[in-house]
Symmetry: C2
């Protein structure tokens, strides 16, 4: 009989998602986390950090399209200086470097091992880290932003979940520093967890509430990412002055002629139209354990 290997992720205590794998091709413990790379027939290569799915070759385009093109298309000609926190797989950088108007990208990744592994095993994702506009800092993003003031047009928080090395990137202190690090029309985009399972919904609510303490414009948008828990994933869009729909001029982005597999200027708007139960969770003033 053939050997069957399955990677199983525990999405909640009561839900499991399993992927049949061909091969477990890499495993190591970095200073910060466990890194594993797998090869699967359905998803191509994928990697996990501490046993949580990060990206798969099949669908990383969805996450990266939505975390990058939504803010970029809102102000395609005005965003020149970008800070990316996390993003060791290089997918967000790949999408950002497609914009010629961007002059500088600071990328702050806590774990150099993630970048090394992705350069080796995900050459189509970690393919633009050598772009001359990209400056990589192997540091804690929480500390990095403390020193910045009125500097960036866009901050993308492309982090892991709010536990382990990514925890600091969901704190009040961090969001306050992001506010300070952004210039007047700056935009903060972050991965915002999922509304569906209770445990994720609580951190979604907490995150949203904390960002709202600092930013007058605070929106949430969604995408279908089947390899993340529930497949219903959210992103936060926060800004001092820019509204992701009212200030959006689709023609400007269309004129750039970028080809994307998930993002388009219709979905730019549609993604912000949330199900009623998600809106209610976001607007709820029910107490959440802090």
């Amino acid at each position: 009989m053939d050997l069957e290997l399955w990677y199983t992720e525990q999405h909640t205590e009561n839900v499991r998602f399993s992927i049949k794998i061909e091969k477990h091709i890499y495993s190591a413990q970095s200073e910060f986390q466990r890194i594993d790379v797998f090869e699967a027939r359905e998803f191509g290569r994928f990697f996990t950090l501490d046993g949580c799915m990060m990206i798969t070759e099949k669908d990383e385009f969805i996450y990266h399209d939505m975390i990058v093109h939504v803010p970029m298309a809102t102000r395609p000609d005005k965003i020149k200086n970008v800070l990316v926190i996390g993003a060791g797989d290089g997918g967000s950088i790949r999408e950002l470097t497609r914009y010629k108007t961007i002059e500088n990208i600071d990328m702050v990744e806590i774990d150099e091992e993630v970048v090394k592994v992705c350069k080796k095993y995900f050459p189509n994702t970690a393919c633009k880290l050598d772009d001359e506009r990209v400056h990589i800092y192997y540091e804690d993003g929480l500390k990095f932003v403390r020193t910045k003031e009125n500097e960036y047009d866009l901050i993308i928080v492309d982090s892991t979940d709010p536990f382990g090395p990514g925890e600091g990137l969901f704190t009040r202190e961090f969001y306050g520093n992001c506010y300070k690090a952004l210039n007047e029309n700056g935009i903060l985009v972050n991965q915002h967890e999922s509304p569906y399972y209770n445990s994720y919904a609580k951190s979604m609510q907490r995150t949203h509430r904390r960002i709202k303490e600092f930013f007058p414009i605070c929106m949430v948008y969604q995408a279908h990412i089947p390899t993340y828990p529930s497949g219903h994933w959210l992103f936060g869009f926060a800004s001092k002055t820019v509204h992701a729909i009212d200030d959006f001029e689709p023609e400007k982005w269309e004129a750039l002629g970028l080809k994307t597999k998930y993002y388009n200027t219709d979905i730019h708007k549609g993604a912000f139209y949330l199900p009623t139960y998600v809106k209610e969770l976001l607007e709820s003033d029910e107490e959440i354990e802090d």
Copy 2:
């Protein structure tokens, strides 16, 4: 040690979705299919037909909101005579009966056992089957529509997947007969599978192409349904004359004062804004095995 029971659904040959269950509370083989009912902590009660997830107490509202309120809200004052095919769990009927303007609902379910099981185990879903406007026919939907002409304002195909007892509801003959059974401004809505995994995407493409052979207006919309394969689920909206967005007047639906947990008049539009890769699959003229 405690006994652990897991329900596992094979979403593709290489992907499994598993739910921890408290109890397997019912199992029977009807004339048409195997019916199982489970109790789970995360999802409440759920039932499967031939091992495929149908509805869970936790999220049946998503599917039923989207299959009913999208067409109803498009013409809330004009839809009086409705045909529902499948829908043995009663959820679509429950949502339809909230519209006072509807005068008649014919429900055609092939398997009386499904209705009996749902009345017993899902009293909050199968709760309006006794509404005096509802007429249930335990027949094959494919045969039922053959005899109908210029009769319905709305046909909802709330079916299982395109194999087993639901197979006939994905044929050219069936869509042609639906066209004939609808009146001039009639709308056909059907569950349209998923774009994400290749096997589902093929039946989505085939279904869309077949409906397009008959209906001049042929649209597709999406919802986040985490318990279905990939969680990215589609519905078809087809009509002779009515456009789901251009002819949609949100104020009319808002005026009804219906409370819904997923549907709202923003998501009505947003749901039709599909990711680029889904649009490309739907528009592709690549040959599909028939």
